[in-house]
Structures are given as structure tokens and as C-alpha cells.
């Protein structure tokens, strides 16, 4: 079952296209990381998934073909927006009360227990809680609805390292206990390496890369060799080139057992290296189905 499906989705704000013909199918049971530069359309996409806005063209379905924004979809989705907005003058207990009354399904016992474990003072106004406590409160309110899909927009941007660790540990524990699927956007690639097992790279309103991270890493190699031999690769699916006077590094789509030409060395790539390479080459793509990166000539970055 696909937890998120987008078919030719576009979204326009005035004259600006925030999303253009995005097609995506994210299977359930994953932590999907959504990365891309500012203005790439990450928040727009997440808002469409959460049903907070409507696409200008195309359709988004969630939780296996439920139209985004429909009551059936909203019932199974919890969304924590950027900077975890809350009513700053309400106490944590009031936020609990409010959320319980606004949702037909809310696990009061779970929420109370969790806030107790986290030592979050229920009587304090949410505006007076620390950034980490606010994030944990928002997460608790979201998880107490026992969603099947948890959508997090830049959840850790405001948190210190310890609070980030605890926040992600809470999300991962919910995944074990409840089987919730997670989609989260983030700028911190290194942090995603631990938690994400599905990657979506967006640039300029388009989906550039989508796939399970294991598969993506297994199908890419970094080749290092003499810069003079670069032309050999004109016909190969090269994603990104870094070239010096004598030596060149090529990120190519290739499997571990693909032959390496004499004089060249092949190295496995990590998530951060892979994502950065694609972010630098908005023209390249790695999407399910036939490889679209083939035949693209990357711009060369000369050092």
C-alpha cells in the first residue's frame, strides 16, 4: 500500500508555480526524508499531503487511495508544522483538552503518560516551555491520535542536539509501537542518515529523486580516475562531475559488480554525498522505472 501517491500534481500561488507535475508513490512502513533547497516545494507538498491546501492540477492520495483532505484521509494523518505552532497562552493541559475535543479519536491516557515521562509541566503556558518541550508536546498531541501517517515539516530546526535526539527517538519508538509511517522534511542530511530509509529529493518544484535509500546507494558509485579519460563517460548515466587538473570524481549510476575501466577506482557513496550530488545537478534524476538520468550531460564543476 502506498502511504502517499501524487499524480502529476502542480500547485500555483499567484503567478508562481510551487510544484510542477510531481509524481510520487511512497510505500508504507518507511521513514521518508524530503530534502531540497529552500523554495523547492517541500512544505507545499507536505501541506497537500496533510490536506491543508488543494492542488492546482493533479491529485494527491494518502493511506492507499484516500483523497488528501477527505475525512477518511484526515482521520489517519497527523501533521506537525514548522516550528510546532501552538497557542502560546494556553497551558500544556489546555492544549491537551483542546486537542481531545477537536478530534474524535484521542488517546488521553497515552498523552498524559508520555508528557509525564518527559517531565513536561502541564500547568505551564506552552509559550514558556523550552523549544524541545514544545516540540515534544506537539508530537505527543499528534501521536495521541494514533495516526497511520505522521507528517513532520522541519521538525528539528529549532532544537538543540539532545532535544533532537530525544525527539527522533520518540518518533522511532512510535513507529515500533504503532506502525506509523513517517514523512519528514529536513535540511540536516547527516541527521537523516540514521532515521530515513526512503529518500525524496526536490528541486525547483519537481521531484528529482525518489526511492529506498538502500537501493539508491547500491545503484550509485563514485568513480575516481584521470581527468583526461572523462570523455569515456559521455554516454554513461553520470550524475555529477568534480574535476581537477589531473583527477576527476564521477558520481555514476552503476551497480557494485559493473566493470570499472582500467585506471579508475569505484567507491560506494553515502546518503549525504548522493543527495548533495543531485542537489547540485537539478537536471539529473533518479526515479523509479526506466533510468531518466541516462544521456544527461552534467555541467562540469572545475576546481
Amino acid at each position: 500500500m502506498n502511504i502517499i501517491e501524487a499524480n502529476g500534481v502542480s500547485k500555483r500561488y499567484g503567478r508562481t508555480w510551487a510544484l510542477r507535475e510531481c509524481t510520487l508513490a511512497v510505500p508504507g512502513g518507511h521513514v521518508a526524508a524530503l530534502v531540497g533547497p529552500n523554495g523547492a516545494g517541500k512544505t507545499t507538498l507536505l501541506n497537500l499531503v496533510a490536506g491543508l491546501s488543494v492542488p492546482s492540477a493533479g491529485a494527491v492520495t494518502v493511506l492507499g487511495c484516500r483523497p488528501a483532505g477527505s475525512p477518511a484521509a484526515l482521520d489517519g494523518i497527523a501533521f506537525v508544522a514548522q516550528d510546532t505552532p501552538m497557542y502560546k497562552n494556553l497551558s500544556a493541559a489546555d492544549m491537551l483538552h483542546l486537542t481531545r475535543n477537536l478530534n474524535h479519536r484521542f488517546d488521553q491516557h497515552y498523552a498524559r503518560t508520555r508528557l509525564g515521562e518527559l517531565d513536561i509541566p502541564l500547568k505551564r503556558k506552552t509559550g514558556k516551555l523550552s523549544g524541545g518541550q514544545q516540540a515534544q508536546l506537539a508530537l505527543t498531541l499528534a501521536l495521541a491520535r494514533h495516526p497511520r501517517l505522521l507528517v513532520l515539516d522541519e521538525p528539528m530546526a529549532m532544537l538543540d542536539p539532545l532535544a533532537r535526539h530525544d525527539f527522533m527517538a520518540s518518533v522511532m519508538t512510535a513507529m515500533v509501537a504503532d506502525g506509523v509511517s513517517v514523512v519528514l522534511s529536513s535540511h540536516v542530511l547527516a541527521e537523516l542518515e540514521r532515521v530515513a530509509d526512503y529518500l525524496i529529493v526536490m528541486t525547483r518544484g519537481r521531484v528529482q529523486v525518489a526511492g529506498e535509500i538502500d537501493g539508491l546507494l547500491a545503484s550509485h558509485r563514485m568513480l575516481t580516475g584521470p581527468a583526461a579519460d572523462l570523455d569515456r563517460y559521455a554516454e554513461r548515466p553520470v550524475v555529477h562531475v568534480r574535476r581537477g587538473e589531473a583527477q576527476a570524481h564521477l558520481l555514476v549510476r552503476a551497480n557494485a559488480d559493473d566493470p570499472v575501466p582500467p585506471g579508475w577506482q569505484a567507491h560506494p557513496v553515502g546518503l549525504e554525498e548522493l543527495a548533495l550530488a543531485y542537489l547540485r545537478e537539478p537536471g539529473a534524476g533518479a526515479l523509479p522505472g526506466p533510468a531518466r538520468g541516462r544521456g544527461i550531460r552534467p555541467s562540469e564543476v572545475t576546481r
Binding site: G29, D166, G179, R194
Partner: protein, 174 residues
């Protein structure tokens, strides 16, 4: 809830994912740690640490591996990563999942008893001291030991002992 079942269906180990939290469980003898800078994939770090613990006798057959939810809560990593590591250990015949309970050690890698290991450790420390006295630094010692190890087993024509003893470390060194 369905997704939880899906995750476990893939690994064939339903109990591991949905173990009730309230059950008093015998804690695992080991805890995992993560070295983000090592460049070794997370699941492999878990596999290596279990093999290491088996080799040094910290883990014995019948011992329980840390529960998935405990590992996830302690390290803030994706549960699928832990499941992948445990599946790999099952494939190697080192561990086995018990529905509703968790994953347990099934075989051992340590062929030597603990007192003898301590003795070998001590004599190795003696060797290290003399290597340092001769002017070798840490990298030099590793290089020398690795090459001696290779010579030793090459001379014996790839004996059976080699696979068990060196497979875990070779990836880290190479």
C-alpha cells in the same frame, strides 16, 4: 497498526515489532552504540557489535539481543535498520527470532574460554609494548599485525578458522 504488521511481515517476526511494553523482560547483556563518523552503515555496525560480543564471550547462546524498541529509543534510529541487522544475523545462523519474545543468540563465535582469552590479551599487550619500544606507532602496529595475520593464514592455505576470526574486521580495515 497495519503498517506495523507489514513491517513485521517482511521480516517474518511479528513479535519483535509489537512486544507489549509492560512485560518484565530479561534485559540483554549488551547495548549498542553508533559511530556516525565510521562510514560503516548503521545495520552493519549492529551486526559487527553482536559478532564482537559473541567472540569475546559477552553474549552466549540463549541470550536475548536488545529489543528493537529499546535500541530505537536509545539510539534514535529507524526500526527497519535494527530489523535488517537482526535478519542478517539470522541469515548467518547466529541468532533466531522467537515470535512474541524477540531475537535470541543461537550460536557462538568464541572458540576460546574467557581465562584463556585474558591470557592471550595480556601477551598481546606485551607484544604491543615491545612494538612501541621499537618505534612503531598505532597505524604501524595495525599494518604489521594485519600483514602477519594474512601471512599466517595464507601459509595454512585458508584454514576454516579464518572465516570466523577475521570476517568481521576485514571490512573495517580495508
Amino acid at each position: 497498526m497495519d503498517i506495523g504488521k507489514e513491517v513485521s511481515a517482511e521480516t517474518g517476526r511479528p513479535g519483535d515489532v509489537s512486544t507489549p511494553s509492560g512485560r518484565p523482560a530479561a534485559a540483554s547483556p549488551i547495548e549498542f552504540r553508533l559511530d556516525a563518523a565510521s562510514g560503516v552503515p548503521t545495520y552493519l555496525q549492529v551486526v559487527h557489535q553482536v559478532e564482537h560480543a559473541l567472540r569475546l564471550g559477552y553474549l552466549k547462546p540463549g541470550d536475548q539481543l536488545p529489543k528493537v524498541r529499546d535500541v530505537v529509543a536509545a539510539l534514535a534510529i529507524n526500526p527497519n535498520t535494527v530489523l535488517k541487522a537482526y535478519k542478517e544475523l539470522e541469515t548467518k545462523g547466529l541468532a533466531a527470532g522467537r515470535p512474541g519474545q524477540g531475537t535470541f543468540v543461537q550460536a557462538t563465535l568464541s572458540q576460546v574460554a574467557l581465562p584463556e582469552l585474558t591470557g592471550l590479551h595480556r601477551s598481546l599487550l606485551g607484544w604491543l609494548a615491545s612494538a612501541e619500544a621499537s618505534g612503531l606507532d598505532e597505524d604501524g602496529m595495525v599494518a604489521l599485525f594485519t600483514s602477519a595475520l594474512r601471512d599466517f593464514f595464507d601459509r595454512r592455505g585458508g584454514s576454516a578458522g579464518r572465516r570466523g576470526a577475521a570476517s568481521g574486521e576485514t571490512e573495517g580495515v580495508a
